[in-house]
């Protein structure tokens, strides 16, 4: 039964919260719940059903599972397993592992639920754990990034609550089925409420700060999983007829985000800043398409961005600096390999997962938006050339087995996905983009300077968010 996908991790998480003084028990409970989720997912592969818990009809909480949930549920398991492995030798206490287990349960709950209010509850549970995790290192920057995130996100979620209140007023149920017969106002409120956590440019400007300053283990979770919740909900909600009119809106804003994010990423100097800004761009790709191909791109983005964030974090911890210019000639071959596999996947090199899913997105989009997305892809190559041409050191370095295993899981997933889904019809385009991007990088290299961060100040990001909300409302009224 699919409900155990969220109940087992939540139960074990509660248990390890009670036993958090014993670190080993907490770690084994985390792995137990990861394995349990993987097994349950394996038994449900290929099925498609919807059920109501208890015997309450339309009033009960309905849960379901179909092909749209599968990429997201898989991404949760892969990223959380790799992150937990990577953290084993560090001084994280049992409390951290309890939070990871609870996060697994709440993320699974979001991806199987079919009830508007249950989405709110499980999304907020995941977010609260995310807030605590960002501030886990207790540095001033991390705490400030969390406060910024919390203030904007909490406001956005109150819009969402008003939206689902209006749905209830009209239909008398919180089930997703009510979304088929709905006015434009609640749809707009639900979408603006959710989009604050979506990672789209202009809507969630808290993102670079939070993602770049969080710890090595936390950034992959934030960029790989937390922003994917909203993408999942967008893809799911666009299946209902009341949301059809929003498709064009999302095409425009997704394309804009893809281009703007790449511009910022090209100009950033710190490794984690490049990755954080690049989340804007990749989320833009996903939101612009918002179909089955986009769901799989969300999966592959979670894996390769998680790998990149983990490697960058580990190099930063070893060398003590984030600036790419200071990494020159100091990166070991054992760290360079995962870095280059992740970069290749994000550029869409053939035989990696990025190639398969990006082609799916490109195929499903037509018109002028396609050209902008191609520009964004070339920008991706330019911004990741920085990481590729970083220079390797000859020194021998011992890497711990758990870190190598963490990298191994993700690299294996990238290649497995890339080889299973390989299709020759866009190979030339992908190679051409890379061939154009790398010379462009060497030409532009000296002109790239970090862009001003004015838009990311708390008040400015508030105003931008509310402005877009106002634009949305005025579109409905006109």
């Amino acid at each position: 039964m699919i409900i155990y996908l969220s109940i087992i991790p939540l139960l074990l998480g509660g248990l390890s919260l009670a036993l958090h003084r014993r670190r080993k028990i907490a770690i084994s409970l985390t792995f137990a719940s990861l394995i349990a989720s993987a097994v349950i997912l394996l038994f449900n592969l290929g099925k498609d059903f919807e059920a109501v818990i208890g015997d309450w009809g339309m009033l009960g909480i309905s849960i379901g599972y179909d092909e749209f949930s599968l990429p997201f549920l898989l991404a949760v398991i892969v990223v959380l397993a790799a992150v937990t492995l990577n953290s084993l030798h560090k001084s994280y206490d049992g409390f951290f592992y309890a939070l990871i287990t609870l996060l697994l349960g709440s993320l699974n709950a979001v991806f199987i639920t079919r009830d508007l209010f249950n989405v709110y509850v499980s999304f907020e549970l995941a977010s609260i754990i995310g807030f605590i995790l960002i501030a886990y290192g207790r540095e001033g920057k991390q705490i400030w990034a969390t406060v910024k995130y919390m203030l904007i996100a909490a406001l956005g979620f109150n819009f969402y609550l008003v939206g689902i209140g209006l749905v209830y007023l009209k239909s008398g149920t919180f089930s997703f089925l009510a979304l088929d017969y709905m006015d434009r106002l609640p749809a707009a409120l639900i979408f603006t409420g959710l989009s604050v956590k979506s990672g789209l440019f202009l809507l969630s400007m808290w993102l670079p700060d939070a993602h770049a300053n969080a710890g090595t283990e936390i950034s992959p979770i934030l960029s790989g999983l937390m922003v994917k919740i909203e993408d999942y909900l967008v893809i799911r909600f666009l299946q209902y007829s009341s949301f059809e009119w929003l498709r064009n809106f999302y095409l425009v804003i997704g394309t804009f985000s893809a281009v703007a994010g790449v511009l910022f990423a090209m100009n950033a100097r710190k490794a984690k800043d490049v990755l954080a800004y690049h989340t804007f761009s990749q989320i833009g790709f996903i939101i612009a398409a918002s179909n089955m191909a986009a769901a799989w791109h969300a999966f592959s983005h979670a894996v390769f961005k998680g790998l990149l964030f983990m490697t960058a974090g580990n190099i930063k911890e070893r060398l003590g600096t984030q600036k790419i210019s200071e990494w020159k000639g100091k990166v070991n071959i054992k760290e360079f390999l995962p870095l280059i596999v992740g970069s290749a996947a994000i550029m869409g090199t053939p035989l990696t997962s990025g190639f398969v899913t990006k082609n799916g997105i490109m195929d499903s989009i037509s018109g002028p938006a396609k050209y902008f997305l191609i520009v964004a892809s070339i920008g991706t190559v330019i911004s990741f050339s920085k990481l590729i041409f970083v220079g390797i050191s000859k020194e021998k370095m011992k890497q711990r087995w758990n870190i190598s295993l963490g990298y191994g899981i993700m690299v294996f997933t990238i290649f497995a996905h890339g080889i299973i889904g390989f299709d020759t019809h866009h190979t030339l385009d992908a190679l051409l983009m890379i061939a154009v991007g790398i010379p462009l990088y060497f030409m532009l290299k000296s002109f790239l300077k970090p862009l001003p961060r004015i838009l990311e100040k708390l008040d400015n990001s508030f105003i931008l968010y509310l402005l877009l909300f106002g634009v949305m409302l005025s579109v409905i009224i006109i």
């Binding site: 009033l59 209010f117 709110y120 509850v121 907020e124 549970l125 609260i128 807030f131 605590i132 501030a135 207790r138 001033g140 920057k141 705490i143 400030w144 969390t146 406060v147 919390m150 203030l151 909490a154 406001l155 109150n158 609550l161 008003v162 209140g165 209830y168 007023l169 919180f174 100040k457 708390l458 008040d459 508030f462 105003i463 509310l466």
Partner: protein, 120 residues
């Protein structure tokens, strides 16, 4: 009739709270304004539930025939959102204490300027 008035009142309250979050630079006041928004949304759900009647939804005798019960579902679910709002507000206040210990101010602009100086 009354529930319509309450719905509009709650939406105005949410609007005022949003303005409050925007216009002050004091972190504590921003959090208080967020509290106003959250309370207004709670009021909104209470107003929705009173659309069908104003009596408390408690059945006193088993063969019941009264019809003016308020809808219990929105009231039941909004309790969860009150709890989540409480968790977020207390977490925010805890982080504010940590920020105040570090920077000795709760002014948002001052904190941002200090962090920018830390960057170099």
């Amino acid at each position: 009739m009354i529930s319509d008035v309450v719905i509009y009142t709650s939406l105005v309250g949410a609007f005022i709270g949003t303005l409050g979050m925007l216009l002050t630079s004091n972190l504590i006041k921003k959090i208080l304004a967020l509290g106003i928004v959250e309370t207004s949304v709670t009021l909104f759900f209470v107003a929705i539930s009173s659309k069908s009647g104003t009596k408390a939804p408690i059945i006193q005798s088993v063969p019941f025939e009264a019809e003016n019960f308020a809808d219990p579902i929105p009231q039941a679910v909004i309790i969860t959102s009150i709890v989540i709002g409480f968790a977020i507000l207390s977490l925010l206040l805890a982080f504010t204490i940590m920020l105040h210990n570090r920077f000795h101010t709760v002014d948002v602009n001052l904190i941002e300027n200090m962090l920018e100086g830390e960057e170099e």
